[in-house]
C-alpha cells in the first residue's frame, strides 16, 4: 500500500521542485550577449560600487564607463571638456559657472542628451529625499538652470574655486530616471548613460560586464567587451591572474612582486594621494600636547615604513599633499631625528619615569592607537609607529577594532586612518583640518583646532587666484609642522599587473578610495589591442 503512494508523492515533490527551479532561471541583471574574445578584457578589482546610479553617488569623480560628466580628467588630472564643449566660463565674483553643451550626443538608448538632463541630475542629487552620501561635495551649489537646450548655468552660495572639478560628476538621463524611485528604481542597477560603455550585466558581488557603445560621441572603443570581476581576497585575485582567467588586477606589493619575471605582463605603479596617518586627538591630554605631537612627528621613521612595509612602493608623507605634487610646500620635509624628539620632550617637561615612559604633572605619556581589524597594512603601520614612539619614551598601545568600535572613541583615542583625494587640495584638507568639522562624521577625526589653518583653508577655497591659493596651502602645511595634529606616515602606491596585450595604458594620480574608476583601466576606452597573433 504505502510504498506506491509514497513513491508517487516523492516523484511529484521532486517534479514540482524542478519546475519551480527551471521557471526561475534568469541571471540577476543579465541582459545582453557576449562578443568575440580577441578584443575583450577582464580585470580583477577589490571593491564594487554600492550603486551604478549617478544620482546616488556613482561616477562622481569621473571614469564611470557608463556615463560622462560635463568635464573629465586627463592622465595628469587636468580638466578637459566632455559633455561640455569647453571649460566653463566663470563670472568675476566666482559665483556663476556657465557651460556650453556638446551637440548631437545621445544616450545609449538613442534619446538625445540636453541641458535638461544636467539640471535634473544636479537637482535630484541635492534633493533631501535622495539618499546620496556624497551630497556634501556639492555643498557650494545653490542652483542650476538650463538656458535653451545647450547651455547650463550653475549658481554658487559662496565662491568655491575648485567647483569645476566637481562637474566631472556623471550625468543621468532625465527621461529614464525621472519617472522612478530615485533610491531603488531599476535605474540604480540597470543604468543608461552617454558613456563609452554600456552595462550588460551586474551580478552583485561577482562581476560587472560592459560592452562598447558603438555610437559613443568620442569614437567607439576598440576593447569591445570589458568585464570587472569583484574579488575581495588578494591571493585569489593573484591566482586567477596567473591562471589566465583575468587580464589584469590590483595587487598588494608582495603579490605583485611575483609577476616581475612574467614577460607577458606589465606592472603599473600608480602615484596616489592615499595617505596613512595617526590622528592625535586634541582632547587627549597626551596626544593633544604640542610637544608630544612634534616629538612624535620626527621620532617616526617614515623611510623605514616605505622600505619595509610597502616594499618601496610608496613615499614618506609629511602632510596630506604628496611630495611630488605641485601643491607640496618645499622645505616641510622632516627627517627622522630621535635625539631632537627626546630634546623637545625634555624641554617641555616630559621627564622619563622609572619604566622609561615619560611623565609630566602626573600624566603618563601613553595613549591607545586603534586600527581597523583585518587591515594588514594599517596594522603594520600602527605597530611600527608604536615601536618608534617607544624609543622616544611614549607608550602607544595598539588595538584592533571595527569602525563600530572605533568611532565612539575617536574623540579621545588615536586612530590609524587613511584618506586622500587628488585634484584640488581643498577636497581633503578642508574636511581633515577645519576646526568646525571636528567630530562631524569621520571628518577632522582628531578635532584639530588651529585658527591659522582655519583661515588659510577658507582663503584657499574662496579665491580663484592660483598664487594666492598656493600661499594659503603653504600656510596650512607650515602650520602642520609647528603643530602636527596628525602624524602623516606614508603615501602608498597602488600596484596593478596587466597582460601586455594593449597599448595606450597609463595611470592617473589616484585617491585613497580606489574602486573601479582607478587603475590602468581608467581609460580602457582608449586602449588599442596590440597586433594579436594568437
Amino acid at each position: 500500500m504505502t510504498a506506491r503512494s509514497l513513491r508517487g508523492m516523492a516523484a511529484a515533490t521532486l517534479a514540482g521542485a524542478l519546475a519551480i527551479t527551471a521557471a526561475a532561471c534568469s541571471n540577476p541583471g543579465a541582459t545582453g550577449a557576449g562578443s568575440a574574445a580577441q578584443d575583450s578584457a577582464v580585470v580583477g578589482i577589490a571593491y564594487e560600487p554600492e550603486t551604478l546610479s549617478p544620482l546616488l553617488g556613482y561616477g562622481k569623480d569621473g571614469n564611470s564607463k557608463i556615463f560622462d560628466g560635463l568635464l573629465a580628467f586627463d592622465d595628469d588630472l587636468r580638466l578637459k571638456p566632455a559633455l561640455a564643449v569647453a571649460l566653463p566660463e566663470v563670472s568675476a565674483d566666482g559665483l556663476t559657472y556657465t557651460y556650453t553643451l556638446r551637440k548631437g550626443v545621445t544616450f545609449s538608448d538613442g534619446k538625445p542628451f540636453t541641458a535638461k538632463d544636467v539640471v535634473f541630475t544636479y537637482r535630484t542629487i541635492l534633493d533631501k529625499k535622495t539618499n546620496n552620501a556624497s551630497k556634501t561635495e556639492l555643498d557650494a551649489l545653490e542652483d542650476v538652470k538650463a538656458v535653451g537646450d545647450d547651455t547650463v548655468v550653475f549658481t554658487l552660495k559662496y565662491p568655491y574655486a575648485p567647483f569645476a572639478q566637481r562637474t566631472v560628476l556623471a550625468i543621468a538621463p532625465e527621461h529614464i530616471a525621472a519617472g522612478q524611485d530615485v533610491n531603488s528604481g531599476p535605474f540604480t542597477t540597470r543604468p543608461i548613460g552617454t558613456g563609452p560603455y554600456v552595462l550588460t550585466d551586474w551580478s552583485k558581488g561577482e562581476k560587472i560586464s560592459f560592452k562598447a557603445n558603438p555610437h559613443y560621441w568620442g569614437g567607439a572603443p576598440q576593447v569591445k567587451k570589458f568585464t570587472m570581476a569583484i574579488i575581495k581576497d588578494d591571493d585569489v585575485r593573484a591566482t586567477r591572474l596567473r591562471s589566465g582567467d583575468l587580464d589584469g588586477a590590483i595587487l598588494p606589493p608582495n603579490l605583485a612582486k611575483g609577476f616581475t619575471n612574467d614577460k607577458a605582463k606589465k606592472t603599473y605603479a600608480a602615484k596616489t594621494y592615499d595617505y596613512r596617518l595617526v590622528t592625535l586627538p586634541t582632547h587627549n591630554r597626551v596626544a593633544g600636547d604640542t610637544a608630544v605631537r612634534r616629538a612624535l612627528d620626527i621620532a617616526v621613521d617614515r623611510q623605514a615604513m616605505v622600505d619595509k612595509i610597502l616594499e618601496g612602493a610608496g613615499k614618506p608623507a609629511y602632510g596630506p599633499v604628496p611630495t611630488g605634487s605641485e601643491w607640496f610646500t618645499k622645505g616641510t620635509e622632516r627627517p627622522h631625528d630621535l635625539a631632537k624628539a627626546k630634546k623637545i620632550l625634555d624641554d617641555a617637561g616630559w621627564k622619563p619615569g622609572p619604566d622609561g615612559i615619560r611623565v609630566k604633572d602626573g600624566v603618563r605619556a601613553a595613549f591607545p592607537l586603534w586600527y581597523l581589524s583585518g587591515d594588514k597594512l594599517r596594522q603594520d603601520h600602527a605597530l611600527a609607529y608604536a615601536s618608534d614612539a617607544k624609543k622616544a619614551g611614549i607608550e602607544i598601545k595598539t588595538q584592533a577594532g571595527t569602525w563600530e568600535v572605533i568611532e565612539p572613541r575617536m574623540k579621545h583615542d588615536a586612530v590609524l586612518a587613511g584618506g586622500g583625494s587628488p585634484g584640488d587640495p581643498d577636497f581633503d584638507q578642508y574636511l581633515l583640518l577645519k576646526s568646525s568639522l571636528g567630530g562631524d562624521g569621520f571628518n577632522n577625526m582628531a578635532w584639530y583646532d588651529n585658527p591659522a589653518v582655519d583661515k588659510a583653508l577658507d582663503d584657499g577655497r574662496t579665491t580663484d587666484d592660483k598664487t594666492a591659493r598656493k600661499a594659503a596651502y603653504d600656510t596650512v602645511q607650515r602650520e602642520l609642522v609647528k603643530n602636527p595634529g596628525y602624524t602623516f606616515l606614508t603615501h602608498i602606491d597602488h600596484l596593478y599587473v596587466v597582460s601586455d596585450k594593449w597599448s595606450g595604458l597609463s595611470t592617473q594620480v589616484e585617491p585613497h578610495d580606489h574602486g573601479l574608476a582607478s587603475g590602468p583601466w581608467w581609460n580602457v576606452e582608449d586602449w588599442i589591442p596590440k597586433d594579436a597573433k594568437k
Binding site: 504505502t2 510504498a3 506506491r4 503512494s5 509514497l6 508523492m9 516523492a10 515533490t13 521532486l14 521542485a17 524542478l18 519551480i20 527551479t21 526561475a24 532561471c25 534568469s26 541571471n27 540577476p28 543579465a30 550577449a33 557576449g34 574574445a37 575583450s40 577582464v42 554600492e50 550603486t51 533631501k128 539618499n131 552620501a133 556624497s134 551630497k135 556634501t136 555643498d139 533610491n183 531603488s184 531599476p186 540604480t188 542597477t189 551580478s203 552583485k204 558581488g205 561577482e206 560586464s209 567587451k225 568585464t227 570581476a229 591566482t239 586567477r240 582567467d245 583575468l246 571595527t402 569602525w403 563600530e404 568600535v405 581633503d428 574636511l431 562631524d440 562624521g441 569621520f442 578610495d513
Partner: protein, 330 residues
Amino acid sequence: MTRRVPWAAMARMAGRRALFAVPVLLAVTFGVFAVAAASPFDPVKAYAGTAGLTASQDNLDQLRANLGVDQPLVSRWWHWLGSAVTGDLGDSSVMRQPVADVIAERIGWSALLAGAAFAVAIVLGTALGVLAARRQGGWLDRSVTSAAYTLEAAPAFWLGLLAIWFFALKLGVLPAGGLTDTASDTVTFGQVASHLVLPALVLGVSQLPWFFLYVRQGVADALDEDPVRGARARGLNERTVLLGHALRSGMLPMLTLIGSRVPELITGALLVESVFSWPGIAAATVQAATSVDFPLLAALTVLATAAVLLGNLLSDLLYGLADPRVGFDG
C-alpha cells in the same frame, strides 16, 4: 492493499499548521528587527559605504531619516508589517532595489542549488546506507561510517574552501565560483552546470552523513526483523529482500529527517553561497545582515521560516501516509 489517500485529514493538518504559522512568523520578524536594532552595525554607515567617511553629519542624519532607521524599533516593525501584509515588502537599502525584485532574481538559483544538494545527499546517502547495512562491519561500512562522523563535524564553509583549493586551484578542473565564467555574460546551460558542481557537491556532502547514518541504521534494523527473515525463507533473491523489504521499512525515519534537515540546509546554503559567490538569496541574507538592511532581512527570514515550517509539514504528511498509525493529528 491500496488505501485511499486521506486528503481531508491532510488538508485539516495543513490548515492547522498554517494557523499556527502566523504567530510564529510574527514573533520571528519581531525578533529579527530587535536583534538587528541591537547589533553594533549602523545601517546608515553600511548604506553610505566609503562616501560615508567624508560625508557631513547633516548628510548622514538626512540619510538616517530617509531610510527610516531613526524610528523606534516597534514602530518600524509595525510599519513594515503593515506594508508587508498588503504585499509591499519595501526597498532593500543595500541592493538599492525593491525587496521583491531581489528575491525574484535570486530565489531560483538558490532553489536550484539547494535542490541539487538535497538530491545528492538523499541519493548518495541512501545508496551508501544500503550498501553499508548489507555488510555491517565490512570495509565499506567502516570507512564510510567514520567519514560520515568526520563530515558531521566539518563546517560547510571549510569544506567549500577545501574544495576550491583542490578542484579549482590545484587541479584546475572546475570553476572556483560564480554562476558563469568571468568573461561570459550569457547564462548557458553548460556554464551553469559546470559552476553548479562544486557548491552543490559541498552542500550535499555536508548534509550526507545524516541521511547515510539514518538509512544505514534503519536498513540494518529491518534486516533483522521478521518480514525480512520471512522473505528470505520464501527464497526471494537478495536484491528484492534488500530493496523491497528492508529499504522500504528502513526509509521511514528518513522521512522525518527530510523535514528536520531544512534549517540545516538553509544555514549551510548561507555559507556555501558566500564562499562560491553564488547569486542566490542566501548570499543576499548575509549582506542584508551585515548591512542591517531591515526590509530585506525580515523578508528573507520570513522566507526561511516558512521553508522550515513547510519542510516539517511535508515530512509529517509523508510520515502519516507511510505509517497510518501516526495519523494527521499533529
